[in-house]
Subunit: 161 residues, 2 copies
């Protein structure tokens, strides 16, 4: 009989990655977003609209890594808060475009420097070279998991209606 496999959590990359993602999101959420009633996902949407301008909902899903049906609900909440607007294209009734309202733009202008401070705090002490490797590895890992998800039929990435 084979001995059971061992797993040392403190050396397990999914854990090391997830706890960093969570601690940064939690602190930024509590210190900067909560007072505005925003979640991390809502912040992502606003940050993308600020840097890229108005976007089709389908492209926003890609740019924020938020799944389409979740995104649609988030946008509805952002509209209720007066932070974004959603318009249907004249060309296609199914094509929806989302943009920041002036109130949304002003809030995102306030939040961006705080977000950049959080990033700076998180990577303080790492070299430029380390940071480049880190970003490359994280993008590569995300790509691997996206491909895996597509290959296994996208279980858990419900794009079905």
């Amino acid at each position: 009989m084979k001995a059971p496999a061992k797993l040392e959590l403190g050396d397990f990359l999914p854990y090391l990655t997830n706890r960093v993602g969570m601690i940064v999101a939690e602190q930024f959420g509590n210190d900067a977003l909560a007072e505005h009633g925003l979640s991390i996902a809502m912040w992502r949407v606003m940050a993308v609209l600020a840097s890229r301008g108005s976007q089709r909902q389908i492209d926003l899903a890609d740019l924020t890594s938020i799944e389409v049906s979740t995104l649609s609900r988030l946008i509805t909440r952002l509209i209720r808060k007066g932070l974004v607007t959603r318009t249907r294209s004249i060309n296609s009734n199914r094509e929806v475009t989302v943009k920041l309202s002036p109130k949304g733009q002003s809030l995102v202008n306030h939040l961006i420097p705080i977000a950049l401070d959080f990033e700076a705090a998180a990577i303080a002490g790492l070299s430029v070279k380390d940071i480049a490797v880190l970003k490359r590895c994280l993008r590569h890992m995300y790509g691997n998991m996206k491909k895996r998800s597509a290959a296994t039929g996208g279980r858990g990435h419900g794009t079905s209606s």
Copy 2:
């Protein structure tokens, strides 16, 4: 007047980290944990108990990066599922020790190879050297954020009762 700061989400490390953490957790959760009614946090607890043996609740919080009051609720759920047991120390009524039950040990033995396969899928194509840098950077970032949290009075890391 200063121009508003720009933030490109696709180059922002908190985003790059968080989306990797989430996609791995989501796929592993859906494909391996959901059928056993386990969350990622519950899995972490079981993985640590499997590799380190029985633990005081306070040490488990450290080893899993799960905040004490959340951990206590998770352990209650794991006990109800018959996967762990919790005993009070004879020496100190406040000292609680948690260990895997035989049923919990058997489940974790089943899950570890699956978890290692997920890790392997996530890092496929990265060199050993890259992976070493990645782990070092992620540990460093986590340490930075923990220190920051302690320095700002631990807002968002409620260890208060």
